[in-house]
Symmetry: C2
Amino acid sequence: MTKISKAACIGGGVIGGGWIARFLLAGIDVDVFDPHPEAGRIVGEVIANAEKAYAMLTGAPLPPQGRLRFCATLQEAVADADWIQESVPERLDLKRGVLTEIDAAARPDALIGSSTSGLLPTDLQRDMRHPERLFVAHPYNPVYLLPLVEIVGGAKTSAATIQSAMERLPPIGMKGVHIAKEIEAFVGDRLLEALWREALWLIHDDICTVETLDDVIRYSFGLRWAQMGLFQTYRIAGGEAGMRHFLAQFGPCLAWPWTKLTDVVDLDDALIEKIGRQSDEQAAGLSIRELERIRDENLVGILQALKGGDGGKGWGAGKLLKDFEQSLWADGGATASLDPSKPLRLVETKVSPAWVDYNGHMTEHRYLQVFGDTSDALLRLIGVDLAYVEAGQSYYTVESHIRHLGEAKLGQAIHSTCQVLAADEKRLHLFHTLQDTATGAVIATAEQMLLHVDSKAGKSVPAPAAVLDKIKAIVVAHSDLALPEGAGRSVGQRR
Amino acid sequence: MTKISKAACIGGGVIGGGWIARFLLAGIDVDVFDPHPEAGRIVGEVIANAEKAYAMLTGAPLPPQGRLRFCATLQEAVADADWIQESVPERLDLKRGVLTEIDAAARPDALIGSSTSGLLPTDLQRDMRHPERLFVAHPYNPVYLLPLVEIVGGAKTSAATIQSAMERLPPIGMKGVHIAKEIEAFVGDRLLEALWREALWLIHDDICTVETLDDVIRYSFGLRWAQMGLFQTYRIAGGEAGMRHFLAQFGPCLAWPWTKLTDVVDLDDALIEKIGRQSDEQAAGLSIRELERIRDENLVGILQALKGGDGGKGWGAGKLLKDFEQSLWADGGATASLDPSKPLRLVETKVSPAWVDYNGHMTEHRYLQVFGDTSDALLRLIGVDLAYVEAGQSYYTVESHIRHLGEAKLGQAIHSTCQVLAADEKRLHLFHTLQDTATGAVIATAEQMLLHVDSKAGKSVPAPAAVLDKIKAIVVAHSDLALPEGAGRSVGQRR
């Protein structure tokens, strides 16, 4: 994967801020130029939301966060960036001016993406000296969680630019979709605009309210579209007869006089007030901040659910997340600085919304999930990574003894350490401790026995020397540590 | 909640079959009339899919499945039903004829719903003698998983009918949305139609392919819509300035000459072939059955994720699922027939797609989830239910010892039993065994110690007499059982 080494963001509103958060959390330094007096605050809030979301999204080791710098001039911000993202307000003259300035100050090999949600790249690149490196990179809000970037080239954009841009998105957890021809609003906003027009008529004509309209979407096709979109869903609807049959059946409806799309609704004060009032009622007192929190928690949950899709292989945005996590594990930055003479601090996370009961407490089995992640991190450290497992051998947990000594709550920062108690050719005896990161208080412990197995044969086999050497080095380093209180105990045994 | 006591389904295609599965799995008897020679096979396949999905969707005790009967005549099918659902092909004359026949043969107090996705209820009820009880109940495919039902009355439909229909949907896990005025295609299909028209133009004009169009949806707004729909999402986009500000900003775009919606695309053979070919490529060899399986697994995962939304309180379709499960627990049918002298068989489930790793094996922590569910089921049995917990006391798990003796795979039917080893005023000592349901082979065991606590004070307190009496009765009944092999052991202890 080709990685961006340094990013510049021109414009730090909600979209610009979302890009900044994406880059920083992927470990990329970002220089920002935005003359708006509130830019620092707005960007800071978006980054805080993104940090919270990522902590819940993945247990994979995020790289050390990139360095954020606000610059006094556009020229200073773009000087040594290899990806420059423009996110200024949606006016052609303004964007054209900014892009021409970027063009003059940027490195000749820098990629220049515009966040425009509707303007044509051919129009944007008109006055540039190096227009071949300008493309539209249109993201969706919240940029730090939604993976899509529509990549659109203009008349003068080079094929190499499009290819470079597409390659640089997976390492920051994003999905580039190349739109074949430029049209105003590209693909996503075209689709949204069509539905939006019809929706406004439905409210205008009192067929439904904003709440019942939203309910119609989120209790039905919204659930379908999160995973498969429109055509694949209809392919299934066509049944064994398939897509062509479905189209032949559905086609005639297109000519029915259903829709009001041929008219443009007049979004006058009365309609704005009506929608505003209904929207207030729908929100039922939840603030924008609370709605953002709920939205992000739900997105995290949906992405994690899709990660388990297609029988555990991952599907759609969940497959993308899985790939992103694998690249994070491969980079394995988090374990580089471990002190081998202490219990190894292997997992840092926050209590995810999917992990809590209705009281906001972490549920029982999620403790074992974090302990399982801790064992997995140790295994990667001794060379038992995904490639090793795919080659046919692995360590399986055969026993766990968990003690609950405290509680963890939604959003709480927690970490887990591992002490290796013993190891032989086949067995690995571990003791994990889960602590509150702020206070260090012990929340739970787990003693585990793992067995080295040949997965295909389904029986235990000795681990290879390369693995045993690494584990034994840790056993030696840990041999001076005291046996943890709680090790070797059975359930209910008195202290 | 008001429950349907007996349902009749006229028409057993994909939609009719989905209704049948919904009713049966909610414990309602269904009489079906469909003269199609393949009706039995089609309905059977839908029910099989639904059973698989429900087993993964919820650990709550489903009621004994309703009885399914195919009838020789429409009259026989509707005779004693209190909800009759018509799902015959979408032709006004045909539907009107069928509804008039239903009207003549049904009980006078029966509710009659039509699955039509576009016809007006006023037109449908024209020839009925009791038109006041006819309404549109328009569901979405797959009916057994997607909760939405658009409820639409015609000119002669009574308000009481609409109210009765709305009340009867939550007990079968569905969400009725009452559409205020009847228009062709109601709300959902209006919105779909608008987006669909635009989508067909985008393919026709080679702006994108069906795959890139689907990707645009499922990597961006599809993920948003699964939880919040359109207006609530835009409310957030408006930021602190709110919905009115968003509309004022967005309004002008409506008049831009973006869209091609004013023209109707000609769905000729060339376009059908183009879409068909692109759809084949997108499916990448996955059959309709495989796509259905993936869709259902993803829907289950998304619904479960939303169940944890809003800090564990549940959000949207996940909140609905949570409420549905609570009603199932309250009915608690599954524990009625337990033999107290044996380990109590408390949990029956299948390995859910969200529970497996990339090899299709159940992940470590999901074992503890099933064991936790087993403890919860025991607690409900002794009176420690949700109301008890909400009143301020509960049992907390303080220790667990899990042994893995086998493996469980995606979709595998498993069950869990509980032997109560001991109990005193505060402590509850349990031993759970997880078995393969087909062979009885033991897959894992868990020994657990639970402590009775005052949740608010955060300390252990004696359980009340009513709870202790029930638990002691089980302890006595279990006192003749042998101590399970594996109880009282510590991690790594030799046998």
